[in-house]
Symmetry: C2
Subunit: 344 residues, 2 copies
């Protein structure tokens, strides 16, 4: 890519206007098919690079925003990403994505790449163990950072997420209101703020109702569908099996329901099951999954807006913005007390 070929070079070579060349390279139907093909052939031959962001480059902005999360395949993040992209699209920012798999050095490598590319900003669900100094290093290098889903202790980076402890407490209160007195919690880890806060909400709701927590009720660890499936094996071996289970996330809950079925137990009948996030699949699952709407769309929209505002020179409040969670009661938590006369 040594030489710099301009639109006008191609236009002159073919005896066309630069406007026609520009339209043709965007595949506009305003230019006849045959002309478009001639123009493209010339562009290839001359080594032209179509530079969509020439204008923004002149103002020294790359037009690129980096987004890094631990698991792109989790629909929870997928739904946040769609909202982010929708917002960035409106401002002609391109969005570059990466998975850090909660591996700090992978996250650092991505941030590093963004710095080298001169990215305009970074939206991050911080990897486990991210020190506040990592975020400062980015900010110190003119890479504004906005956090989603998780927080970083000691950092004043703007953070957008659902209110995890309140949401889980609401859910557990609802299970208690249905008559449950023994409720397990499956999944999540104390290494993430999300895991700590949801567990705190669970324990709080139990304590508030005067229910004594039993250590065997807490099956920590699972954060995906398959590990949720595996956790059902541990669950069915609990001596006095809890009648209800709240899971760390919908993915864990959906896997856990598969696991219960495999063990011959009917979710929603033999065991009440609830998830967290209200991903699209929750409402169509068999049985439909009781869960907590966690505001993915709002998280994505607000995080992108805040970053864009900052890029535009408007500071945003450097504090947490918590989205208020909402309960979604569905059949998976409709435990059938008649199926367990021993518990009546």
């Amino acid at each position: 890519m040594a030489q710099k070929v301009k639109l006008s070079t191609i236009a002159e070579a073919l005896g066309l206007s630069t406007a026609t060349v520009s339209l043709a390279l965007r595949d506009s139907p305003l230019v006849a098919e045959v002309t478009r093909e001639r123009i493209k052939a010339e562009a290839i031959a001359s080594g032209y690079i179509y530079n969509r962001r020439a204008a923004s480059l002149r103002t020294s902005k790359s037009g690129i925003v980096g987004v890094c999360v631990h698991d792109i395949m989790n629909p929870f993040f997928g739904e946040i990403l769609i909202a982010i992209e929708h917002e960035l699209d409106r401002h002609r920012q391109t969005f570059i994505l990466s998975n850090h798999y909660d591996n700090l050095s992978k996250q650092r490598s991505f941030v590093d790449t963004m710095l080298q590319l001169g990215a305009d900003g970074l939206i991050l669900s911080p990897a486990i163990g991210t020190p506040a100094s990592d975020l400062e290093l980015a900010e110190g290098n003119s890479l504004p950072v906005v956090l989603i889903a998780r927080t970083v202790e000691g950092s004043d980076a703007g953070s957008f997420r659902g209110d995890d402890s309140i949401g889980m407490a609401m859910l557990v209160r609802a299970l208690i209101a249905e008559g449950h007195r023994s409720i397990a919690m499956v999944g999540g880890t104390s290494k993430t703020s999300t895991g700590r806060l949801r567990e705190a909400g669970y324990l709080h709701a139990l304590a508030e109702a005067g229910i004594e927590f039993r250590p065997e009720w807490r099956i920590a660890g699972p954060r995906g569908r398959h590990s949720g499936f595996d956790a059902a094996e541990t669950f069915v071996r609990i001596a006095e099996r809890p009648t209800a289970v709240c899971c760390f996330s919908d993915l864990v809950a959906l896997g856990f329901m598969y696991g219960l079925s495999r063990a011959g137990l009917r979710p929603g009948i033999d065991v009440a099951v609830a998830g967290y996030d209200d991903i699209d699949e929750a409402a169509i699952a068999t049985p439909p999954l009781t869960t907590v709407a966690n505001g993915q769309k709002e998280v994505g929209r607000r995080a992108a807006s805040a970053l864009l505002a900052r890029l535009g020179g408007t500071a945003f409040a450097e504090t947490e913005e918590l989205i208020v969670p909402e309960l979604r009661m569905r059949q998976s938590s409709g435990f059938d007390w008649n199926a367990r006369p021993d518990l009546k």
Copy 2:
């Protein structure tokens, strides 16, 4: 980012060796915590950008590979991406990801960004309607392209995918061998090579067995879980309801099974259901899903290897490489003929 601060600048300012500074910025435990914090503070203050790829930049390679698919959230792609990343990691290439949602202008915008960043190569599942000239434009600008999952007519770009027509034919033959004579196909579109090839395999297997295809058996369109769920509504209204259904993908099949349950039909008992891809979820689903292993790991590994070989100067065969599919028979296709005495 006007000034260029070197490791040695920071080292001198603090009276430390450049090696210590380098280790500290990588958060190496070889440097005492307190020293690391001092070094990071100095790096932030001086505006240092840690340049992991300085060496590769000197050889004018960016160390960046772009990957663009239509739906990152589809575990089929997720599993390919993990294999690609595994291969790229070993060669210290960074991988940048984007969704084109089958929107050609989004794909072009991503390719454009990759050109501007001087990316080393591109792995693409081409958007619907991608003309061969788009791939030539990238290649002409020194951006080698490797295709995954789908092909582009008229392009000689290397392409890695499972053998879609053979795979679907194998599956439909297996359903016929179980006694089925009326088999629907749900999902997929003739706009993608994958959709066309799988449909061709389905029609071929029917014809081969002397089964006359009926237009109402083909419910085209769905490519995700939710649209698979919705398709079940159409399916249950077919006057002479087919006893078996092969779906375009596992995601479609898993959603379709949810939809059957919602309609009061039991997948695997009232209707035999099969998917395609053998994503991780297929084996743990309720009921476990009959499907075709589509070689995601192999697709990812081979595509990344081929691109890396090309970056290293080794040409790879510019032809299609088809991964041989394998049947996975599970309970979802275990239609219970005793439940439908009318069909015996």
